[in-house]
């Protein structure tokens, strides 16, 4: 198990189950594996808490790696319905969902997995295997969260560029030499060099290749 990036914060496992016995047992199990957990006795309670945190926290929710252990069958909003709403809120790739199912709910859970749930675990579950899956889910969450942060960083850097610098950068990424860029933009080669140095500085890269790779990795194509 790869240790998680501590800069992302402590990972949290959210347990959503109407049975307090199950919640307590799972919390105990996770705690025995040094994992933080937070339990909710209904889908509604979980959703409202998450929404509140998303509004309080500037970087949105979740702020740290997280995953949800979700019981399929619950009074009120069912696990499946909650999953749909999480998809609507855009939480799902970042907050993986592991369904806890009874024997009869397996087909429902399979369908949910096809729609993007991380996994389903059939009750009664093999406990440490479940925790292993939880850790994998948390790792995925951390990865998604890291990517998201990096993307935001690049967005900020791109926003720092002036209009002319952005034009120069597009041509730099295409790999054109300064002379051609100067001809294209009807400016002097000297000016292009100054711009290029500024761009490299602002974007925190040392070469044009690094710049292009970083932008592609971050999924940000300068428009």
């Amino acid at each position: 198990m790869t240790p998680l990036d501590p800069s992302l914060g402590l990972p949290v496992v959210y347990i959503v189950d109407d049975e307090d016995v199950v919640r307590d047992a799972l919390a105990w199990l996770l705690r025995s594996r040094r994992l933080l957990s937070e339990a909710f006795d209904s889908a509604e309670a979980f959703e409202s808490a998450a929404l509140q945190r998303a509004s309080e926290h500037a970087g949105g929710w979740p702020s740290a790696p997280a995953c949800v252990l979700l019981d399929v069958r619950m009074p009120g909003l069912s696990g499946l319905a909650l999953f749909e709403r999480m998809v609507e809120h855009g939480w799902v790739p970042c907050v993986p969902v592991i369904f806890l199912t009874g024997h009869a709910d397996v087909p429902t859970a399979v369908a949910a997995v096809k729609r993007g749930a991380f996994d389903f675990v059939e009750k009664p579950f093999s406990n440490n295997a479940l925790v292993d899956r939880v850790e994998q889910a948390l790792a995925l969450s951390a990865q998604v969260l890291g990517q998201r942060r990096q993307r935001r960083q690049w967005d900020r850097r791109l926003a720092d560029l002036t209009e002319r610098e952005r034009e120069v950068m597009l041509l730099v990424i295409e790999g054109r030499p300064n002379k051609l860029i100067a001809d294209e933009l009807h400016i002097s080669v000297r000016t292009v060099e100054v711009h290029r140095a500024r761009i490299f500085e602002k974007m925190g890269v040392k070469s044009a290749v690094e710049l292009a790779n970083s932008l592609r990795d971050a999924g940000r194509e300068p428009a």
Partner: protein, 707 residues
């Protein structure tokens, strides 16, 4: 197609009011006929009368006409003769010439017998006599009649016209004679009588010559006196004196009565009667022909109606899906319709006239014969007859058919066999067959094949049962799922805590013992919770034991037998009951034991459906008490038996030899019986001798505690 029963059947079918000929109708009809004959007789009498009367009047008219004719002819001849006589009176004629002329005249006129020429004083001057007849005055002298002549002559002289004398009879030689009259013709010269001419007329000759004008008269003519005495007669025939006409012939100075008497007598009745008879007969014949024609027309109409009714009946019986069967009083089949033939699969020829019809199942022929005999011996309740007759009929032994006639309306159910040996239930409605004279000639039965109905009933029942089973299963399933959920949670929790404990033990630190203690407490709590769940289920199951109560075995069997019989009838299985006396009672959960009985009976019946031939299908249900504390139930069938491989797994849940079987029946049965403290076992082949070839049979036996 139409059996001997056709004729009475028509009577029923057409249902036309029979000519029952009550007294008043007969009387009315004879009145009509009497009136017709009377009318005919009156018409004939009238006709006869008219004919006779016409004939009479015609004869009378003829007589009158003849009389008139002859009278006028006589008068004319006399007048002519008088004219011819005139020249002879002339005085200028000499004697010789007178003689010649007189002779000529006498020859020409035969009625003139004699001519005399007399002088003014009546003295005879000349005389001439006819030469054809005898001389008139031989026996009678002329002088004897001279006064008559003188009287006439004086009258003639006075009147200056000729005048006749009275007639008188002149006898001849040989007895004959002739009535004559004399005519005196006066001769006037310068107003004085100068002489006379006397002519003697023979009246018969006058009559003859007058009659000569009517050549073929069938009348007798005569001159008569006023007193009726006849003076002279003429004519070939004699008159009958029935149609008489009289006429006065005026002669100068004298008149004569002429009588015409028809030779035809009274019109005779006989020929007229014959004519009338012929006429009457032909009239009657005409009337008869008319009546006959009308009758023929009616007959033709009736025939058309009959043909229509026949065609209607044919169409009806062909379209009927209900089988019709008629039997005479001896029980012989006299009529079957196509639907019936189709139902039993035999041709009408195979059925007609048989006493024991081929559609009776062989093993039941005796029973059916007995039943038929008792039914046929009953009197039908005909509309006219008093109802108590039927009530006095003997009770029927074999089947619950006490009043077939009454029962006819509601019908009764029995079993027939098709040609291929298949048994099928039928519903029979019987009604008495009554012929045209109201005589009871047999029974007409409407036969309904109720196989389909039974099948639907069976199907409905089976579905009902299946539904009940699945409902029961659903309940069981729901309970199981509830139970598993209830148990799953504490077990899952325990597993989680255990895993957590292991994790803690693997990586111990300072807090570990405290954490372990906490976790183990939670494990204990959850284990206790699971125990409570198990206990509550156990309690629930144990609660059923409280329902045991003493029940009579008879009651138990009564509750299940209707359902068992229903199923048995479908496959033609007979059910034999052997209940020991006194009927034992058992302590049991009634519903559960009924289920056991139902299950075992159904298994037994179904085991016979495939291999066992219908006559051998028999289920024996026996109840006995071999021990004061135990009552034994046994169900013995003649089915295909249970092989050793099946026997091994027979009581295993969810094991079944049937495709649609649940495999729970026998295992549940055993559970129920064992819950009651009894035992359930089986033997195959079955002891007790029910087995047939290839069908060893099985006996299931279970015991229950006696109450």
């Amino acid at each position: 197609m139409f059996g001997p029963a056709g004729a009475p059947y028509f009577a029923i079918l057409l249902n036309r009011p029979r000519p029952s000929v009550p007294g008043h109708a007969r009387w009315r009809r004879s009145l009509v006929w009497g009136a017709l004959l009377t009318l005919l007789a009156v018409a004939q009498g009238l006709l006869l009368m008219l004919t006779v009367s016409y004939e009479s009047s015609r004869a009378q008219d003829q007589a009158e006409a003849v009389a008139l004719e002859v009278a006028s002819e006589a008068k004319r001849q006399v007048t002519r003769s008088i004219q011819d006589l005139q020249p002879l009176t002339w005085p200028a004629i000499g004697d010789i010439e007178w003689d010649v002329r007189a002779d000529q005249l006498l020859q020409a006129r035969r009625e003139l017998l004699r001519l005399e020429r007399r002088g003014a004083s009546g003295n005879l001057l000349a005389l001439s006599e006819g030469r054809y007849g005898p001389a008139p005055f031989t026996r009678l002298r002329r002088a004897d009649v001279e006064p008559e002549v003188e009287t006439a002559c004086s009258a003639a002289r006075r009147a200056a016209t000729p005048a006749f004398t009275r007639s008188y009879y002149v006898p001849f030689e040989g007895g004959a004679g002739v009535e004559v009259m004399d005519l005196c013709v006066p001769l006037q010269i310068e107003g004085r009588a100068a002489g006379f001419l006397v002519a003697t007329w023979s009246l018969p000759q006058l009559l003859e010559s007058a009659l000569a004008a009517l050549p073929s008269s069938r009348h007798e003519l005569s001159f008569i006196e006023s007193d009726g005495s006849r003076l002279a007669r003429a004519g070939a025939l004699r008159g009958f004196g029935v149609y008489v006409a009289e006429r006065i012939v005026d002669l100068p100075g004298r008149s004569l009565m002429l009588r015409a008497d028809s030779a035809a007598g009274r019109p005779s009745l006989i020929p007229n009667l014959a004519v009338a008879l012929v006429l009457g007969l032909s009239l009657a014949l005409t009337a008869l022909v008319l009546l006959l024609a009308r009758d023929v027309r009616r007959r033709a109409q009736a025939e058309t109606a009959l043909a229509e009714a026949l065609a209607f009946r044919k169409a009806m019986e062909d379209s009927l899906s209900t089988g019709l069967r008629a039997r005479d009083l001896a029980g012989r089949i006299t009529y079957v319709n196509p639907a019936f033939c189709a139902m039993v699969g035999f041709a009408a020829e195979d059925l007609l006239g048989t006493f024991v019809p081929p559609y009776w199942p062989q093993e039941r022929v005796q029973e059916y014969s007995r039943r038929q005999a008792s039914r046929l011996s009953l009197q039908p309740v005909l509309p006219e007859s008093a109802p108590h007759e039927a009530q006095a009929a003997p009770e029927v032994v074999a089947e619950p058919i006490q009043q077939p006639v009454r029962a006819g309306r509601e019908g009764f159910e029995t079993e027939f066999m098709r040609r291929n040996g298949e048994r099928f239930p039928v519903m029979i409605y019987e009604a008495p067959l009554v012929d045209g004279t109201g005589r009871h000639t047999g029974w007409m039965s409407a036969v309904l094949d109720v196989t389909e109905q039974r099948r639907v009933e069976d199907l409905a029942r089976q579905q009902q049962e299946r539904l009940q089973v699945s409902a029961r299963l659903a309940t069981v399933g729901e309970m199981a799922s509830l139970l598993s959920h209830e148990l799953n949670q504490p077990l899952a929790a325990i597993a989680s805590y255990a895993s957590a404990c292991l994790n803690l033990v693997d990586q111990p630190d300072a807090g570990t013992p405290e954490l372990l203690r906490d976790a183990l407490q939670r494990v204990a709590g959850q284990a206790e919770r699971a125990g409570r769940v198990i206990r509550s289920v156990h309690d629930f199951v144990r609660r059923r034991d409280q329902h045991q109560e003493p029940v009579s075995c008879g009651q138990l069997l009564e509750a299940v037998l209707p359902l068992v019989r229903l199923q048995a009838r479908k496959s033609g299985t007979r059910i034999e009951l052997m209940l020991s006396e006194p009927t034992p009672s058992v302590r049991c959960d009634r519903t559960m034991v009924e289920q056991v009985l139902m299950n075992l009976a159904r298994n037994a019946i179904q085991s016979m459906e495939s291999a066992t031939p219908p006559p051998s299908r028999q289920l024996r249900i026996a109840v006995s008490q071999p021990h004061p504390r135990w009552v034994e139930f046994s169900l013995t069938d003649a089915g295909s038996g249970i092989g050793p491989d099946v026997a091994e797994r027979l009581f295993t849940p969810f094991f079944s030899t049937r495709a649609e079987g649940m495999g729970l029946g026998l295992s549940l049965c055993r559970t129920v019986v064992e819950q009651h403290g009894g035992e359930l076992d089986f033997e195959s082949p079955a002891p007790g001798g029910l087995e047939r070839q290839g069908c060893p049979g099985t006996r299931f036996r279970f015991t229950l505690p006696a109450a």
